[in-house]
């Protein structure tokens, strides 16, 4: 079911936590709120779950207003599922009973089969009789997921679902989760501080900063067409290169002149340069010195300094191995030229 937040404001002890939060997750898709800790993303999730009140705005799910400034529907009447960061399995119940816990409105005969189906779906059918303390972190996570999905929630909420798991588990579980959600046709919203998680799972991602939503968009656009410098900074790697926006809209930098993709007033600007915006080309007259390099398997991430001293990144196939201190030729290859008005003072690489 479609989730829609309209101008949601919330405060905690007088301090505003969320400021006019608005976004929409279409039915059957996965949304994500991305933000650092303290950005208000968990509060947003708890508001949607009905665990916290709001001071203004509305939370609408499937056309039904669940929370507004005057009141809220109780959590148990929302038909939502939630996966907590710490999984919050009931320690006194075994795995099967944990999954059955939310099925009390189902006919008794269907409960067990539904729970077993869900356990099979997350690959834990064999562990149904175990207790939570006998499970690994990844297994607990999958039980929590099965439990949340078992009652066929209209909306699934996930709070940093992979934060306590290691990288490998994250990737495999992430994939499994996405397939499971699509198979169940569940609309989902997750909150995380990890862009990898966000990009791997979500169709739409919002960047939340100090209670304000900076951009609600596809992962591609967040990365390549960030709405402001904060988003550009927070999402992905990149450098800002000083330049000048000319009245005709073109941006002049030491790497050359490019047509701007986003509008703006003429004057000094900073151009967002992603690592893949700079291509290694020994034939290029543009030379840069290698300051630092990180081996990434198929690719090598170089930190380079240009003639002006500005630092930029370049992603280069890893068989091109250059020593630190050596020079190499680079060529800009920009599909989108995003420039923000330059802040006072020298530009620094993030």
């Amino acid at each position: 079911m479609r989730l829609c937040l309209e101008g949601v404001c919330a405060a905690y002890g007088g301090a505003p936590v969320l400021d006019r939060l608005s976004f929409e997750v279409p039915a059957g898709t996965i949304g994500c709120l991305l933000g650092a800790s303290g950005s208000g993303k968990t509060t947003a999730l708890r508001i949607i779950a009905g665990l916290e009140p709001i001071s203004a705005g509305r939370v609408v799910v499937g056309g039904r207003v669940l929370t507004d400034g005057t009141g809220r529907v109780a959590p148990e009447h929302r038909g939502m599922g939630m996966v907590f960061q710490d999984f919050a399995l009931l320690p006194h119940l075994n795995v099967l009973d944990n999954v059955r816990f939310g099925l009390h409105r189902m006919p008794a005969t269907d409960r067990t089969s539904r729970a077993r189906d869900m356990l099979t779906a997350v690959g834990l059918a064999a562990l149904a009789e175990r207790y939570p303390h006998q499970l690994s972190g990844g297994q607990q996570q999958r039980v929590a997921l099965a439990r949340a999905l078992a009652p066929r929630p209209a909306l699934l909420l996930l709070d940093e679902p992979f934060a306590s798991l290691d990288l490998e588990l994250r990737e495999s579980l992430g994939q499994a989760l996405r397939e499971l959600l699509l198979a169940e046709g569940t609309t989902a919203l997750l909150v995380t501080h990890s862009q990898h998680e966000a990009f791997a799972l979500a169709d739409l991602v919002g960047v939340l900063d100090q209670g304000r939503l900076r951009q609600w968009d596809t992962a591609y656009n967040l990365y390549h067409r960030p709405a402001d410098r904060m988003v550009a900074d927070f999402v992905g790697e990149g450098a800002f290169l000083r330049g000048e926006r000319r009245p005709d809209g073109a941006i002049a930098t030491e790497l050359g002149s490019f047509p701007a993709s986003n509008p703006g007033a003429p004057g000094p600007v900073e151009v967002l340069l992603r690592p893949d915006d700079l291509v290694h080309d020994d034939a290029s007259p543009l030379r840069a010195r290698v300051r630092h390099k990180v081996f990434r398997g198929g690719e090598m991430l170089y930190t380079l300094s240009l003639a002006s001293g500005a630092e930029v990144f370049a992603l280069v196939p890893s068989h091109h191995d250059h020593d630190i201190g050596s020079e190499l030729g680079v060529r800009p290859d920009l599909a989108h030229v995003i420039a923000f008005a330059a802040p006072p003072g020298p530009a620094a690489a993030p």
Binding site: A49, A74, F84, D86, A88, H92, G102, H104, Y131
Partner: protein, 549 residues
């Protein structure tokens, strides 16, 4: 207690370097440590058990015909009634305070602990004074409604009510902490899974709190078994009064010890049962996420305030006001000696509050390091003293210590005039009070934390000091608080075992009550409450904000 899994992998003894961990040897060491801690209690139990070998036939024949049937029946009623009462009242109040938001919640969170500082015998006397036929309430009733029949409060229900009011904080304290740290979280989970608040509490938070409810209730039940003051004030005959009747009336100490031995067997069975019920449950700690207490609707909120207020009024404000009224009449006798008495009480209570949680921690640690059936029984036996009437325990302790001192006369010189003997006796009596919260907290130590710490090269005592102690802080503080107030109130052991000059406030109460001068005892009773207030508050704060317990 002995539920922690063996955390130390069996590495096998062969080909290990000298400093490697060798399971069995270390196990033996830990068993010795546990044995040393349990030794005074074992000595006392030995004295009690030895009495069984010399049965006094004539006394037993009389007791079993005319005393024990009634006393056992009464005891059963009382223990079950008090157990039910404290578990319902303690859990209910704990749930309100830990899970809900209502006017006065922060105040009640602390204030509902205060009845801990009021000795049960004081509560009993005050209640009989206020509510019995000759008391002001019924007198007023008769004056305004002539012909109204007298209401008898000195019966089973009266003594039950008083003991529930006096003992519910044992349950309240531990359950509140357990619910505050994790219960609210599980309530949220349950509600998101479609359970109404009531169901959510019953099905998610309550099962979580069960081991703590059980532990606290068991403490209250043991204390009820051992209680003499309150049941004597109500002249309600229990096994404890039968014990004293046999001792003081029939002059048969051995007969008294025999009844106690039978009593302790039942308690031991109860302990083993509770242990077994708990054995399957092991708890993994949840992360500390921000959890909001449920804001109650205005009517519910005021009802919650009313309930908490009523309990607080009945269990604390009312008896303390009555004590104040009585004490004001005797205010002239408040002299400098009270400073000395209070200082003695404080020193003994603080000494025990330091010593006993340390012993309980060591015992709990030993059980974790070297779990075995023998270890489990040692730990259980070490806590049995709590179910034994204080004066009888004092006699058994004295007999055991007397034997020891006869064998080692040098020790006598060292111990004479020292409070070491007294503190040891307190340890025998109150170790259960310290062990319950400490073991409860240890139950939730995540094995992974320990593994992580060992991985970082932290092990042995440093592991304990740097990893376990901080995590167990809540349980340890709870233990210290309970021991502190219990020792402040303790009378028979202090009377018998104190060295010259170590009179306490409780001893002062004894001086008056032994001659039936209850009103004059109000001043020292009030002093006990007053001295107990600050530590109660301090420890309350500490245990409420501790990460676990």
């Amino acid at each position: 207690m002995a539920t922690a899994p063996p955390l130390q992998p069996d590495l096998g003894a062969a080909k290990l370097p000298a400093r490697a961990l060798r399971g069995p040897e270390r196990g033996a060491g830990w068993h010795l440590v546990a044995l040393a801690i349990a030794m005074p209690a074992l000595a006392v139990l030995l004295v009690v058990a030895a009495a069984l070998l010399r049965p006094d036939g004539e006394v037993w024949a009389h007791l079993s015909a005319h005393v024990l049937p009634r006393a056992s029946w009464n005891t059963l009623w009382l223990v079950l009634g008090v157990g039910l009462g404290v578990s319902v009242l303690g859990t209910g109040l704990a749930a309100l305070v830990a899970l809900c938001e209502f006017p006065g919640r922060a105040f009640f969170a602390w204030a509902l602990l205060l009845p801990l500082a009021v000795p049960a015998y004081v509560l009993a006397t005050v209640y009989i004074g206020l509510f019995d036929y000759a008391g002001p309430l019924q007198t007023l009733l008769r004056e305004h409604l002539p012909g109204v029949p007298g209401i008898e409060v000195r019966n089973r229900w009266g003594v039950m009510a008083v003991l529930v009011l006096a003992l519910y904080p044992y349950v309240y304290l531990v359950v509140r902490n357990a619910l505050a740290s994790q219960g609210a979280r599980l309530m949220e989970v349950a509600r998101l899974l479609g359970h109404r608040p009531g169901q959510a509490f019953r099905r998610a938070a309550l099962p979580l709190a069960l081991p703590w409810i059980g532990g606290g209730t068991l403490l209250a039940m043991m204390e009820t078994l051992a209680d003499f003051g309150a049941v004597a004030a109500f002249n309600y005959d229990t096994l404890t009064t039968a014990i004293y009747r046999t001792w003081y009336g029939l002059f048969s100490v051995s007969g008294a010890l025999q009844i106690a031995a039978v009593l302790l067997l039942f308690v031991l069975a109860l302990l083993a049962l509770e242990q077994r019920a708990r054995a399957g449950q092991r708890f993994v700690t949840l992360g500390a996420a921000p959890v909001q207490r449920r804001r109650l609707a205005p009517r519910g909120a005021w009802l919650a305030t009313l309930i908490c207020g009523l309990v607080w009024l009945l269990a604390f404000a009312l008896p303390v006001s009555q004590l104040l009224l009585w004490a004001l009449r005797e205010i002239d006798s408040l002299d400098r000696r009270y400073w000395l008495l209070a200082a003695n009480s404080l020193q003994l209570a603080l000494g025990a509050a330091l010593l006993l949680p340390a012993l309980a921690l060591t015992l709990s640690w030993a059980q974790r390091r070297a779990p075995s059936a023998a270890m489990g029984w040692l730990a259980r036996l070490a806590t049995l003293g709590y179910a034994m009437p204080g004066a009888l325990l004092a006699v058994a302790f004295f007999a055991a210590a007397g034997t020891l001192l006869k064998v080692f006369p040098d020790l006598a010189g060292l111990l004479r005039g020292s409070i070491l003997l007294l503190l040891t006796a307190y340890a025998v009596r109150f170790l259960a009070v310290a062990a319950t919260p400490v073991n409860g907290a240890a139950l939730r130590l995540k094995p992974s934390i320990e593994e992580a710490a060992r991985n970082l090269g932290v092990s042995g005592f440093r592991l304990f000091l740097r990893v376990h102690l901080p995590l167990l802080r809540g349980g340890v503080l709870t233990a210290a608080l309970l021991v502190f107030v219990d020792v402040m109130k303790e009378m028979p052991i202090t009377l018998m075992t104190r060295p010259f000059g170590w009179d306490t406030l409780a001893v002062r109460i004894f001086e008056f009550t032994t001659e039936g001068q209850w009103q004059r005892a109000a001043l020292p009773a009030l002093a006990i409450v007053a001295v107990g207030l600050l530590p109660t508050y301090w420890l309350h704060r500490g245990s409420e904000h501790a990460p676990l317990s």
